[in-house]
Symmetry: C2
Subunit: 217 residues, 2 copies
């Protein structure tokens, strides 16, 4: 699994502003960064009348656009995908993913708290809370950064999130669900499958392997 | 690999119109359909000023948005991804993918030819050409459908593309490149890895397996 940090806080606390600065800073330090934003109210991204919009209207489950600079994918879902699954399927090639708005997830968190908005932290005492970014004076052991201290926030993300995952990762999705792996199984799959793949011509130095198997019922 | 059909033809021949009708028809027949459009001139999909746009401007390589109804992913690439790779990574869970505009690909093709636009087929004699959709009188053995005959086009896609893949599929991406698999290796990976995964608790009936292994250098 890719390293993940979730930026949480009430609406209007300044999550997006902080994320923009932290992304810029982590990028400057040489990391590839992805952002996943949860939008409880739904969102519109495609432009009415464009071809991809027409394809979607016609009933295509997934539409994609590709050019020499980027590509975009829009996909319908019957029920909301858990963020772990989106990240694992679509943002799995990055050094770190920052999520915005997944309050109920199990990801490590940084809470943004703005005095003008609220003075009461929501995640006080939560084991998954790494730090606050706030202009409120807070007691306790949790590290506190200023609202504008994007370098401090980038430091803690680098130390506690990115560097912890330096060894590599294995992830397994079976029939649409992410399967948690014990360390022994993790090792077994990594070494066993890497061995099989490296025995194929041209794959002797394989470092990143994606294998997809689909059986029709 | 997911079954793929490419709709090709000159600009203004009516590719998008045909695709919209064929998508509707295949959807009506119970298939899940994806569309991948190649845009040589680049495209804009995100809205200026929105959060995801800000994250992208800040240097995020990938931004994603998720709601209860859909999700969207926009990803920067250093050079254009081959369509096989986009399909294999992002449209791998569909019954069929229709591509628009990948003239040079090896996908099976249907050429759209509109008299008012051009009377000379481009893929005449090409082994990958399945049929024409046209109002031009053409000689030869290649099946010809009317420009509006979306049911006929859906029939040939169903018979020649979708039903051919009914057995299942294996795809392998190593360090970003799709690795072509011989039938023996295909079987070995499918049976070997499926066996390993099915021995895990809760995975006894696994039909769709995605396994990702990443080693840090």
């Amino acid at each position: 699994m890719v390293p993940i940090i979730s930026i949480v806080g009430k609406s209007g606390s300044g999550k997006t502003t902080l994320i923009v600065k932290v992304v810029t800073e982590l990028r400057r330090r040489g990391y590839t960064v992805g952002v996943l934003k949860h939008d409880a109210h739904g969102f519109e991204i495609d432009h009415e009348g464009k071809d991809s919009w027409k394809h979607k209207q016609a009933g295509a489950v997934t539409v994609a656009l590709s050019s020499s600079e980027k590509f975009a994918v829009i996909k319908d879902v019957a029920k909301e995908w858990p963020p772990e699954r989106i990240i694992d399927s679509y943002l799995n090639d990055l050094d770190v993913v920052i999520t915005e708005g997944y309050k109920k997830s199990d990801f490590p968190k940084i809470e943004v708290l703005r005095k003008a908005n609220s003075t009461k932290p929501v995640f006080s005492g939560d084991k998954r809370l790494l730090a606050y970014a706030t202009d409120v004076k807070l007691k306790g052991d949790t590290p506190v950064y200023g609202l504008d201290d994007f370098k401090g926030v980038a430091d803690i993300i680098e130390d506690r999130i990115i560097k912890k995952h330096a060894g590599g990762s294995v992830s397994l999705i079976v029939d649409g669900s992410l399967v948690p792996l014990k360390p022994f199984i993790d090792d077994l799959l990594r070494e066993g499958v890497t061995g099989m793949i490296r025995s194929l011509k041209g794959c002797e130095d394989a470092d990143e392997i994606e294998l997809r198997i689909r059986r029709r019922k």
